[in-house]
């Protein structure tokens, strides 16, 4: 039994890789494969003990496409995600810019911004539920007392408004993430570049738009992508605030697929809807790799 050195090294290599491969297979591949399998099966509590259920073809996907709540949930998810990212970016970037300026209380401000991050999501939901209550809610109390509203506003009880209320809560939640990442990116903008722009007579708006943003653009891109992934899977917040109501006005892909699976026990339909999220992940993962590699190359290019 004489193995060549090359062969021995190859075997050792595979041995070292085995734990990682096993981990990826069981922790990631298996659940995904199982979820895809479920979506093509006619599952019910009666089939739950068996590993497979009768084949259903595309019936679950057909259900999702014809079910007004499912299609609405998909639309809500996109609206909610787009709105959240926009709000989080605008506020987060503004705060990040603010913190690059020296002013008294800057450190305190920077640590206060992180607070939303430290509170469990469900707790945030409950707090916002109290804040936005129709009667006795702090927000309505304030609006009526200040005179901005004549009557208390039905933030959570109006189907046209509830998604906006969720959006406000989620923007509040996501701002720290944007602030932190963009702030650290802003720290990396070379002082010489900013000074050069100043010397060339660029105004503040021009410096921001033509100098700072292009330099930190790779970070902005990655932040958006990560923010997208965090937002598209929001669940606890909705459950705590509205439970998907009123009249399904705030059902997202996550909450409605949970509802289909675990409240109506149609695991196949729930899985089919959930695969829409899987599809998004499949698109996002390579995009993230591409962007981060790109940003690495660009920043190393800039350093040179």
């Amino acid at each position: 039994m004489h193995l060549t050195a090359w062969r021995r090294r190859q075997i050792a290599g595979w041995l070292f890789l085995t734990p990682a491969i096993a981990y990826i297979l069981f922790a990631f591949a298996l659940p995904i494969v199982y979820n895809v399998m479920l979506s093509f099966e006619e599952t019910s509590p009666a089939t739950i003990g068996d590993f497979t259920a009768p084949f259903a073809g595309l019936a679950n996907y057909r259900f999702i496409l014809n079910d007004p709540t499912s299609t609405a949930a998909i639309v809500h998810t996109f609206e909610f995600t787009a709105g959240s990212l926009f709000g989080q970016f605008v506020i987060g970037f503004a705060l990040a810019l603010l913190f690059t300026v020296r002013f008294p209380g800057r450190t305190l401000g920077r640590s206060l911004v992180i607070i939303p991050w430290l509170i469990p999501l469900f707790v945030t939901g409950v707090i916002f539920k109290f804040l936005f209550q129709l009667e006795g809610g702090a927000v309505n109390q304030l609006l009526v007392d200040v005179g901005l509203a004549r009557h208390p506003i039905d933030w959570l009880d109006n189907p046209h408004l509830a998604l906006w209320t969720l959006l406000i809560a989620n923007i509040w939640l996501g701002v720290p993430f944007f602030t932190l990442l963009l702030y650290s990116a802003l720290q990396d903008v070379p002082v010489e570049v900013k000074e050069a722009a100043l010397m060339d007579g660029a105004g503040p708006w021009q410096r921001l738009r033509l100098v700072i943003v292009p330099i930190i653009l790779p970070v902005i891109e990655v932040t958006f992508l990560l923010g997208f992934v965090f937002t598209v899977k929001v669940f606890d917040l909705v459950i705590a605030l509205t439970g998907g109501g009123p009249a399904n006005a705030t059902q997202l892909i996550t909450t409605w697929s949970y509802n289909l699976s675990f409240q109506q026990f149609s695991f196949g339909q729930g899985a089919a809807l959930n695969n829409v999220l899987l599809l998004l992940a499949v698109i996002c993962a390579p995009l993230y790799l591409l962007l981060s590699r790109d940003s690495l190359r660009r920043s190393s290019g800039a350093a040179r």
Partner: protein, 422 residues
């Protein structure tokens, strides 16, 4: 010496293990062996915990070598947890589930019928109580601590001040709620959050008015009238629109306790909380049945409460032992004890009569109406959760104003027709 004891102990353990593995059908043989029954439930009030624990202690004392190992799972997670365990054929020996979930558990095929077990009897139970576990002629469940239901609870002082009597009909309910509404409080606190308790709250209005247990006529007169009543309470301003995010307990009930609502539809499990807040029956609050549309209609309420089920994850010996545990709770003395501890009604008609004498008149309405109560899943089984979802969505759509009463119920009807046909 030491070695000897150790080896002897080892031998005994080995023998016990052998017996446990081979399984024994003789109940009296349990004395010789150690058996652990696993149990899962979501009980969490002090009364429920002490009631259950003291019964378990008593059972363990009567069955040497048997331990009942309880695991608490929060209400919101129990169904999911049990289904997950069912995928791995790993259910606990004993499970106490909310009664609408009984049918779902039966359909997993991993719970065993009790009707075949030694000492099982359906005698004396309220039909609605015992029928919760009826499937294909077999009974799969028995009540944990009896049952419960809902009725109209009102604030005596507020009604007196507004010169209104407790409403018996819908027309009276509407006018009473209006008269009771002031800038600081609503006439009635409704529950219409996106959850099962909304359907459960509406069922007495719909069912008493001729609504079918299957909701097959939800968009016809019985449903339209019942939902229009709720809609009117909201548009009149007699009920807060905030109910769209209120659970029955504690959201709606705390409105009542805080004096922000003069009436609520709720159950006897509120008595301890009401008493804690210095509200006592006959002095601060009174109870009447849920009002009906026209006098003479029978009040049909849904039945709440939890049921015991036995899984097939262990052999027949353990199953029989689990049944012994459940059976021991069904004696009149235990029923009375547990019903008191849980704040429920006993599941047997005769025991409920004794109970009424012991606990007080605030239970009368609840006990009287149990005879006409209806288990939510009867004839529907696993279809009930889907149908209930369609119903509470329609209620939310109508009350939030996104659809008219008729349109909302029509949407629900077409969904329900599809579910019933499947």
């Amino acid at each position: 010496m030491k070695i000897l004891t150790r080896s002897r102990r080892g031998l005994a353990a080995l023998a016990a293990a052998t017996i446990a593995v081979t399984g024994l059908s003789q109940v009296n043989a349990f004395a010789a062996t150690k058996i652990t029954l696993t149990e899962e439930d979501y009980f969490n009030t002090p009364g429920q915990l002490s009631g259950l624990a003291s019964y378990t202690k008593q059972f363990e004392a009567a069955h040497p070598g048997v331990t009942v190992k309880r695991q608490y799972v929060p209400f919101a997670n129990l169904d999911t947890k049990l289904l997950t365990q069912a995928t791995g054929h790993d259910l606990p020996n004993l499970l106490a589930v909310d009664n609408p979930f009984v049918s779902t558990m039966i359909s997993t095929g991993q719970v065993v019928p009790m009707s075949g077990m030694k000492g099982f009897s359906t005698k004396g139970y309220y039909p609605a109580v015992i029928n919760e576990g009826l499937s294909n002629g077999k009974y799969y469940s028995l009540p944990v601590a009896g049952a419960n239901s809902i009725a109209l609870i009102y604030n005596i002082a507020m009604l007196k001040a507004a010169h209104v009597n407790p409403p018996k009909t819908w027309a009276q309910l509407v006018s009473a709620a209006k008269a009771l509404t002031t800038p600081k409080r609503y006439g009635i606190a409704l529950t219409c959050e996106a959850a099962e308790d909304t359907t459960w709250q509406w069922e007495p209005f719909f069912w008493s008015n001729g609504g079918k247990g299957t909701f097959a006529n939800v968009a016809s007169a019985p449903g339209v009238q019942a939902l229009s009543l709720w809609k009117q309470l909201v548009t009149d301003g007699s009920a807060s629109k905030a109910c769209l995010n209120w659970s029955q307990t504690p959201a709606a009930s705390s409105q009542f306790i805080a004096g922000k609502a003069a009436m609520m539809v709720n159950g006897p499990w509120n008595f301890p909380t009401l008493n804690l807040n210095h509200m006592y029956y006959g002095k601060q609050f009174g109870i009447v049945p849920v009002p009906v549309r026209v006098p003479g209609q029978h009040v049909v309420v849904p039945l709440g409460g939890e049921d015991w089920m036995i899984s097939n994850s262990a052999g027949s010996a353990a199953q029989q032992l689990a049944f012994e545990y459940i059976k021991g709770m069904q004696t009149p003395a235990q029923e009375l004890k547990l019903a008191k501890a849980f704040g429920y009604l006993p599941g047997k008609i005769a025991v409920a009569k004794t109970y009424l004498k012991q606990v007080g008149p605030e239970w009368k309405v609840y006990i009287d109406q149990t005879l006409y109560a209806r288990p939510r899943t009867l004839g529907l089984g696993v279809k009930y959760p889907k149908i209930s979802q369609a119903v509470w969505t329609a209620i939310q759509a109508a009350l939030s104003g996104s659809q008219s009463v008729q349109a909302a119920l029509k949407t629900a009807q077409s969904q329900i027709n599809t579910i019933l046909k499947s």
